[in-house]
Subunit: 488 residues, 2 copies
């Protein structure tokens, strides 16, 4: 009998296994066209499963056109066995896991408007490449190759290039971190750091609390891992305390994810007092926190604020995700995770299982570059450059854009709220037609809801482009405002 070769497993629904088994038997010609299938009763006995389960399988096969049934007579094979030489193409889109599906459907590069040459794009928050010290970088390459050439091109270590780790430990100590119980893992940028953390310390269904709105890549990645994301409202000081505490009590979250500096997308810098209060809450409820160090190097606000991980002293609640990609060499994909030693020890094994290690050449050249003092000079230079640019954009937003609220204090982007009646998706459609692109606020919402907010990234735009783009944006907002007023 056709079912004698079927061994049932525990993971796939039984009816699905029966369905697949029969489909295969038919396709390879083990069951030929118009031959009678065993009755559902027989199958249920042979496999020791309920008759309803078998019925479901048969019904599915019938609705898919693989078998047919004649009342009172039973079920029969409808499909011809395929010709032996026939090439059957696999449908790859049907074979995706939920993880793969989410990565694809939430991939904004594929789903949002694409930049085309000549357009003015406020979408990106990538840094301006002409600021990079390319000559300094070349020098660093030649120096380190002369010293360690073939060693750098052979296998390295999962945790990272030793002297880069040491450098970053001191770098973090300089931010006020008590580095005694801490260690560092080098990653392929912030994104891989978050990927490693999510796969190591979460399981589907876990709750993570985030600022609302927050970084869209984070939202996508968490959703792909089956995480329930709960957004916590923010004010000018950062995430709201009462709401954060209430959510901790309600959801018993596995993690809190925060971006304290020039938050993405709002540009808010969490104040020193708020950081302390948030840290105390995390400790009180023993909730660990992923601190996204995004844009921290750019901070040009008046008072010096410390990262959360610097507040915890010898405790171990905060895992810090560092990256310089927002200002320096994002093409290299270099980032780091700083955390408790026991934590990094586990993450090292996970890194090894994911891709063995980050390019040793890149780590070594980067380290050589940092050591030369070029980094400090560079940061000083770009801080001024981007601050001037920020002020320029802000001034022109005030001039051209009828906004309701302008969030944040700096960074490579500005977030504004428009009048509530403006649909930023409709606005984007109109602006795109005139060659102007921006990020509509719904992209950053944990619930994906439409908002009247939008993010304007400006690092790579020329002053004239900024003026021209903001004028167009302002005109289209005016048009929409008139239309909605007209409709009232």
């Amino acid at each position: 009998m056709v079912f004698s070769t079927l061994v049932l497993n525990d993971e796939t629904p039984i009816y699905e296994q029966i369905e697949q088994h029969l489909e295969k038997a038919i396709k390879v010609g083990a069951l030929i066209k118009d031959s009678k299938l065993p009755s559902t009763r027989e199958v249920s006995t042979v496999l020791g499963v309920s008759r309803n389960t078998v019925l479901t399988a048969y019904e599915n096969l019938e609705s898919r056109g693989i078998i047919y049934s004649i009342k009172g007579k039973g079920s029969f094979v409808k499909l011809e066995a395929k010709n032996k030489d026939e090439v059957v193409l696999l449908n790859w889109k049907e074979r995706m896991s939920d993880y793969g599906k989410t990565c694809e459907t939430m991939d904004i590069i594929k789903t949002e408007y694409r930049y085309e040459k000549g357009m003015i794009s406020f979408k990106s928050i990538a840094p301006e490449g002409s600021l990079f010290d390319v000559e300094e970088f070349k020098r660093a390459f030649l120096e380190i190759m002369a010293l360690e050439g073939e060693k750098l091109l052979n296998y390295g270590y999962a945790k990272g290039y030793r002297s880069l780790i040491d450098y970053l430990m001191q770098y973090m100590a300089g931010k006020g971190v008590d580095i005694k119980g801490k260690d560092i893992l080098i990653t392929n940028g912030f994104t891989e750091g978050l990927d490693i953390l999510l796969s190591t310390y979460t399981r589907p269904g876990d709750v993570i609390l985030c600022e609302e709105p927050t970084h869209h890549t984070t939202i996508k990645m968490m959703r792909a891992y089956g995480i329930k994301i709960v957004g916590i409202p923010i004010d000018k000081q950062g995430v709201k305390l009462k709401e954060l505490e209430a959510a901790i009590k309600t959801y018993a979250p596995k993690w809190v994810y925060l971006t304290p500096s020039y938050q993405n997308p709002t540009g808010i810098v969490m104040s020193g007092e708020r950081r302390r209060a948030v840290y105390n809450l995390l400790c009180q409820y023993e909730v660990p926190c992923m601190e996204d160090g995004f844009n921290e190097e750019l901070l040009y606000s008046g008072s010096h604020v410390m990262p959360l991980i610097a507040l915890e002293g010898s405790s171990n609640h905060i895992i810090y995700l560092g990256s310089l990609s927002k200002i320096l060499f994002p093409g290299l994909r270099l980032g780091w995770i700083m955390a408790d030693k026991a934590c990094i020890d586990t993450l090292e094994s996970v890194k090894r299982a994911k891709n063995i290690h980050t390019s040793f050449l890149d780590q070594a050249v980067f380290m050589q570059y940092m050591k030369s003092g070029a980094f400090e000079r560079y940061v000083k230079k770009v801080k001024k450059y981007y601050r001037d640019k920020y002020l320029f954009v802000k001034a022109h937003i005030k001039k051209y854009i009828p906004y309701q609220k302008l969030w944040g204090e700096g960074g490579l982007h500005i977030y504004i709220d428009l009048a509530e009646e403006i649909d930023t998706r409709e606005l984007l459609r109109r602006c795109y037609a005139r060659g102007v692109l921006f990020m509509p606020g719904d992209i950053f919402r944990t619930d994906g809801q439409r908002t009247s907010g939008l993010r304007l990234g400006f690092a790579r735009l020329q002053d004239e482009e900024i003026i021209k783009g903001l004028k167009i944006l302002g005109e289209e907002i005016q048009t929409l405002l008139k239309q909605t007023n007209h409709c009232k």
Copy 2:
């Protein structure tokens, strides 16, 4: 009441949620020491769950020393609320996901004997770095930096560096692949390629068939993803056909994973006829295959054999994982996936969600290096070098080692079976004490069972080290053989 703030979720067992909720309430001082807890009956009514569930939670809390009960009176808080200023350290090892746990427990770098200076290690199959054309590589760097400097250091594209993709498409066409419906994604080495595939196209409980024995990193990664691995026996031609077909029928596997060239660990090259027969089977049953291109560039066997992906013509069952890391610049972590266009389209989104893209600098320099013709010259040189080394090792194994069977035809490693009564773990312990390391066969078994096999990697050893190491290995085998004969 303490339970009024608890909102139950569907993912975690209810008793666990009750347990966690109470523990937290006690720790933060919402319930103080010696206060009475609500009765299990009350809790069951308030939450609408069975009384047994609540009882389980209370019992667990009692056995963990958090509450105590007095017969006839009820349950009471035992633990003091923690002092507000007390630093409570999180236990990170307890917070790992199953994925993280598996990556850590199967991390052979952590669990196996470590190399120490002065030892002779047959463990590694990393290439010999002194063969790398470091000067040629430097030249390639300076050339491409002069052309594209700052562009390479800024963000690139998830799929990869365009001209490297084009180069690899032609490279694969040169292996006989019909590239019309195919595309390529650049990855951080083979390991990331496999990681991307597993997360995109499998779910826990899926069955994957592999050669038995097979690559230990593959076993680890599949286990971490919750895959059931079924090993298929091999002979001198490669994976056995009847056993493969029987397993396909029995397990309805999601994938077959194969390493046709200088297989790891056996060094077997799957014959041309076997490749064709395996491919036909895969098609017949519509099972897709991950083809690990491991060591393919090293092939110095007489007859030219084509990769499986070259056999499929315009079909799309094979996903090819390419990497040059076994011969060239493994420190850069460069690899690629070649597959059906629809498949690469999805994988591109997954790559973006995992780490945005592979270092553009590395891709561009590597490409420049390849273009210069240096690669062809290099491959020619190392083929000869490693073949000579292989023959040298083989000759000395024959001289010093009382083996039962010597597998394979080449590569950077040799696999041998010893007399069945030899426990290679005991052998390794003894050899390690004398400064010699190798890979015991159980590491490559899908079931982890002890075997009398072992893998000897030799690429980075000097001739004298090889002779010295094999002598020691041979002596220790002789000693063990005498012992077991003595016991008989």
